[in-house]
Amino acid sequence: MRHCDLLKGWLLPVLLALAWTAVAAEKQEGTLVVALGTLGAQSMDPIQETRSPHAHYHAPMYDALVGFNFENGGKGPGVAERWELAKDGLSWTFHIRKGLKWHNGDPLTAHDVKFSFERTMSKESIASNKAALRRDVKRIEVVDDYTLQIYTNGVQVHFAEGLSRATYQVGQLMPKKYIETVGAEEFRKKPIGSGPWKFVKSVPGDRIEYEAVDYPHWRGTPHFKRLTLLLVPEESTRVAMVRTGEAAIAEISPESIKEVKAAKLKVISVPGTMQAIYQMYGLYLPESQKNPLADKRVREALSLAIDRQQIIDHVMYGEASWPLPFDIYQYSSDTDIERWRKWSREAFRYDPKRAKQLLAEAGYPNGFELKFANTAMAGTPFMVPIGLAVADFWNRLGVKVKYTHYEWGSFAPLLLGEQKQLVGVVSMYRTAGRPVAAPRFYGAFHSKGAHHLLGRGNDCPDLCKTFDELHKAVTVEQDAVQRAEKTNRMIELASDAWVAVPIIEGMGYWAVNPKKVGAFKAIPGRHEFGDVFERMPRPEEKRWQ
């Protein structure tokens, strides 16, 4: 990937889109009201927010250097229309679109981009991409107003993906001149960005209001004049608001789908936003070798005992998909998706007979006692009923499940700390949909990763060492074909270990009132609509089928 000539095949649609949005801009009217379960910290300064809620409320007004592939998910052109990796692999050059401006009219240049990344990496920042940028970036140089060169610490072949909101959902680019002039405090009160929506007002704990820009925007010029994001924590209330028309769109969970459909509202299910998985801890330790889970046949048997289709149909009300391997989605880069689709159909099948046979072969014909920690991370409460269903399937296999439920805030320290209380335990977990698998594989399987499921420090057996080497090889391989081959080997190795096993591929769910907003499409893998609001037509412009 020495050259990313992303303009090929894009030029005509982009020109057409610009022409169309110029016309649309003249007709902006009405308010698009969206009810959300959380607005996170509700800070309009991108460096003051850490997790995904900011994808709802930063994305409308801030741009990212690398954008989306709106059709398939993953990265696409952003403020940078194209980018290249240097021949030595140690720097990336980004070519910035000309004619972009901040909401106060100042031009957006490479100086702003450099300032934004440096601000994100600063000590006061708690942005979600801060750590990754600090690890990867050596220095940033402005070549000219529209060209930026970023030198990385070693070869970083996935660096560009990491700058897309497909990976970290931050409001990335901030106005250098404005912030330096008015100061950070004033910027937080009166923020400006370069996105298609201008900030109007933020009422803590209640709402954020925006106004559409009145000029053609490269992301799409908004069809509505105003956008209001409401904080409505209770899901029943959000659904009621969509039913009454007080909101056009609301975030929902699978439990509400039936009610929403019965009320003749639309349900949007965004594919590939997450995988619900279970994973096992500390099985590489000497003291775990007598644990039945240390035997790979037992681990495989546990997967074969789960009827995933039943979970999809009855726990997720049909609004979930058969999973691909761990952290692999239809839009994953460097991956042979067809191969893994076939593999997962076979490997994740429901086969209780074979499961019992494997248990018997491993020496546990009458089952064993298994400690299971059920928990759900923020935004995915449906993981709890999935965990209950999984425990039930294992009980049916003959395994005696010792079940404990954890609120996520109390489980996270056990997982991210020494993991002493989790040795030999199976827990629920999830992977968030991202285009590049390597960083998530690092977190789960690498000996220095947060979860280190294959080994850690001195307790790093052969499988752990092989994984570490393979992961390193993937992240520095500049040849796309070679990288894909190594990525597939990495997936193979992790899948065959059966220590982190997908249960279902989840979606992002939304209730939509068709009388309040026209037909639109979500970005695959991106639950939040922060980058979609400007593409949403008014109801009279594009009716729902």
């Binding site: 996170g40 910290a41 509700q42 800070s43 003051q48 850490t50 997790r51 000590k123 006061e124 920042s125 708690i126 979600s128 750590a131 990754a132 600090r134 690890r135 970290y168 009422v203 803590p204 704990g205 209640d206 409401l230 904080l231 409505v232 924590p233 209770e234 029943s236 209330t237 009621a240 608001m241 039913r243 009454t244 007080e246 923020a378 609120e407 996520w408 805030g409 109390s410 489980f411 996270a412 320290p413 997982l415 991210l416 992977t431 968030a432 960083p439 998530r440 690092y442 977190g443 220095k448 990763g449 947060a450």
Partner: protein
């Protein structure tokens, strides 16, 4: 009287220190915000860096010492999540909660006083039985469910009222009813039992012997005396309304103190949680002090006993 007030103030101060200590240590037992803030692929180094940025490093006793020293200067720290002084965040949400409290109290008293009196006067009769049923229903109905039910009927089906959020006068109706139902039941039962006690007392019998009309006996002599225990309950419930409207505020998307407390717990935002609970405690101590003073004025026996 002055000694009485001074003693109550000192008791309140001791209580606040105790609350602050308990909240500080208990809050940290169930996890920390760092683990909730980091992305899934964060490393141990990332974790340590964030701990340093948030100022959460150092041993617990050292952190507690710093917290106490700052608290004495009125600084309860910055909210980890909002990146603003926790006291400022608290006071930005307090007015929203206070907006629904008066309506709720008025609704509760308007309904509870006549119902309580009538059920005492017609003890065992049909009115008493209906009032008893209302009381049981009011206490037993979870306000979470009641709120959703009211939204379904009055917003979704009838379209008369907005589903949620702050706004014009019509926005106050459903949250007030939801929050007030429990209070109506509580006040009504208390007024009924107080009235029954008073109706049976010697001075009421004397008033009747003296030939006073039943209206004057009931509304002037009985009710005034029956309201004394209600005043105590009013103080307790007033505090509970301000701090405990979590469910109502969540159902109706009302950005008040209750929801702020819930968010601080879920996010392990220690400074905010500490500030909210300490300031709530200050508020409750203050309300109870006012009630105690009023109580002492209303009932001279208390002053005499002191």
């Amino acid at each position: 009287m002055r000694r009485y007030i001074l003693r109550r103030l000192l008791q309140g101060l001791v209580l606040l220190v105790l609350v602050a200590t308990i909240v500080f240590f208990l809050g940290r037992l169930t996890g920390n915000p760092v683990d909730l803030m980091l992305p899934e692929d964060a490393t141990q180094e990332d974790r340590e860096a964030l701990i340093e940025t948030l100022g959460l490093g150092g041993p617990l006793h050292q952190q507690f010492g710093m917290f106490l020293a700052k608290a004495l200067r009125g600084d309860l720290g910055d909210s980890i999540r909002h990146r603003e002084p926790a006291v400022k965040v608290f006071f930005s949400r307090l007015p929203n909660t206070l907006k629904i409290v008066p309506g709720t109290m008025i609704l509760a008293l308007i309904l509870a006083i006549p119902l309580g009196i009538l059920s005492a006067l017609y003890r065992g009769g049909i009115i008493d039985k209906i009032a008893g049923a209302i009381g049981v229903l009011g206490i037993a109905t979870p306000n979470f469910w009641l709120g959703i039910l009211l939204i379904y009927v009055f917003s979704v089906q009838l379209g008369w009222l907005p589903s949620a959020r702050m706004g014009g006068p019509q926005h106050y109706i459903l949250p007030t009813i939801t929050l007030g139902t429990f209070l109506v039941a509580g006040f009504m039962r208390l007024i009924r039992s107080s009235m029954l006690d008073v109706l049976d007392s010697e001075f009421v019998k004397l008033a009747r012997i003296k030939g006073l009309s039943e209206t004057i006996v009931v509304w002037k002599h009985c009710l005034r005396n029956a309201l004394i225990p209600v005043l105590s309950l009013w103080g307790v419930l007033m505090g509970a309304l301000v701090t405990g409207a979590i469910v109502t505020e969540t159902v109706f998307a009302w950005p008040g103190i209750g929801r702020l407390t819930y968010e601080a717990v879920i996010f392990r935002d220690y400074p905010l949680l500490q500030a909210v609970i300490i300031l709530d405690a200050v508020l409750i101590v203050f309300i109870n002090l006012v009630v105690d003073i009023l109580y002492a004025y209303v009932d001279p026996r208390i002053r005499v006993a002191e």
